[in-house]
């Protein structure tokens, strides 16, 4: 399945957002997620199924003004 991960084309077999995060090594990381422009909370990642062409954002804390 092809998705857009943080703005770039990405191929994955992950069925849920939780699986994708784990595959990327973010299982224990301080990250937050959104799918197709809407926030997905950490507890909801396991039940959030991924579909072809989904747009996934995975963000972390960064310097800001």
């Amino acid at each position: 399945m092809k998705i857009l991960l943080n703005g770039e084309a990405f191929a994955t077999d992950a069925k849920t957002l939780d699986e994708l995060c784990a595959w990327l090594g973010f299982a224990e990381a301080k990250v937050a997620t959104a799918v197709n422009g809407s926030f997905v909370s950490a507890p909801s990642r396991g039940t959030t199924k991924l579909a072809e062409a989904d747009e996934i954002e995975i963000v972390a804390p960064r310097q800001g003004g």
């Binding site: 943080n6 301080k30 950490a42 963000v59 972390a60 804390p61 960064r62 310097q63 003004g65």
Partner: protein
């Protein structure tokens, strides 16, 4: 004390965490500023670089109150989703709400800002909106639930100081009970002192400190200017006047004759 959404702070300087030459200069600048509130953001995390994880460890170590921003968001929808991600990540209901209208001026999109502020306030967020000096937008933001307003002085990073001082004075007069923080556009400690002398409650800075020749020294300079400006406001400034008024007593002036008086 500066009180924002029920939390009180001794420092009236809010400091941004971006653009410092190194993590250690950021840490020292926060200390030199005496800042208790620092702004942070969210950015895409790479599974290889994991940049955000190290940054977060540094911020946690500082023990500051964190104010996440929605910098770079162009629509209310983007800002709302970003605020929700920030709330989960940083464990705070506070959000420095930015909805940007224009890349050259980084001017807030006031329509999107009011829309996002209303939606987020309704979901329990405590919104600190980055806005312009526009009075009608400020009124809409307060009606939307904002209990703090953060008007710009000049475009972000421009270092121009207060380009519309009269409008900022008007905001202060219209909102005596709403904490007002000038956010963006200051370049020199004298600008910050001027803001505080007008009775503003605080100043949010980033570029003027981070890009200074010596950010740590500049952080200290701004802290002193902000404290001095606040003290001056509390002391009560005298009114400017057109003509001179002697400070030395006129009565008893040597050689004074009545026909010299006019």
């Amino acid at each position: 004390m500066l009180t924002l959404y029920g939390k009180s702070f001794a420092s009236r300087l809010l400091l941004g965490t971006a653009q410092y030459p190194s993590p250690s200069s950021l840490k020292q600048a926060i200390e030199a500023a005496g800042a208790e509130i620092v702004t942070v953001s969210l950015r895409r995390e790479s599974s290889r670089a994991r940049t955000g994880q190290g940054f977060w460890a540094l911020i946690e170590q500082m023990g500051c109150h964190v104010l996440p921003n929605t910098a770079g968001c162009r629509t209310a929808k983007e800002a709302i989703a970003t605020a929700k991600m920030a709330r989960e990540l940083f464990g705070t209901n506070w959000v420095k709400l930015e909805v940007i209208a224009n890349d050259d001026t980084l001017q807030p999109d006031l329509f999107g800002l009011v829309e996002a502020a209303a939606a987020l306030s309704g979901e329990g967020f405590e919104v600190l909106p980055y806005t312009t000096e526009d009075l009608s937008a400020a009124e809409r933001l307060v009606a939307a639930g904002c209990a703090v307003l953060m008007p710009w002085a000049a475009p972000i990073g421009s270092a121009r100081g207060l380009i519309n001082k009269e409008a900022l004075k008007t905001l202060r007069a219209y909102f005596p009970d709403i904490p007002l923080i000038v956010d963006a556009g200051l370049g020199a400690p004298s600008h910050a002192a001027e803001v505080m002398e007008m009775g503003y409650d605080g100043v949010l800075l980033n570029t003027a400190v981070a890009k200074a020749g010596d950010p740590v020294k500049m952080a200290a300079a701004f802290a002193k200017a902000i404290a001095a400006g606040r003290l001056a406001f509390e002391a009560g400034l005298i009114e400017p006047r057109d003509m001179a008024q002697p400070s030395t007593p006129v009565a008893g002036t040597p050689f004074f004759k009545i026909d010299q008086a006019s």
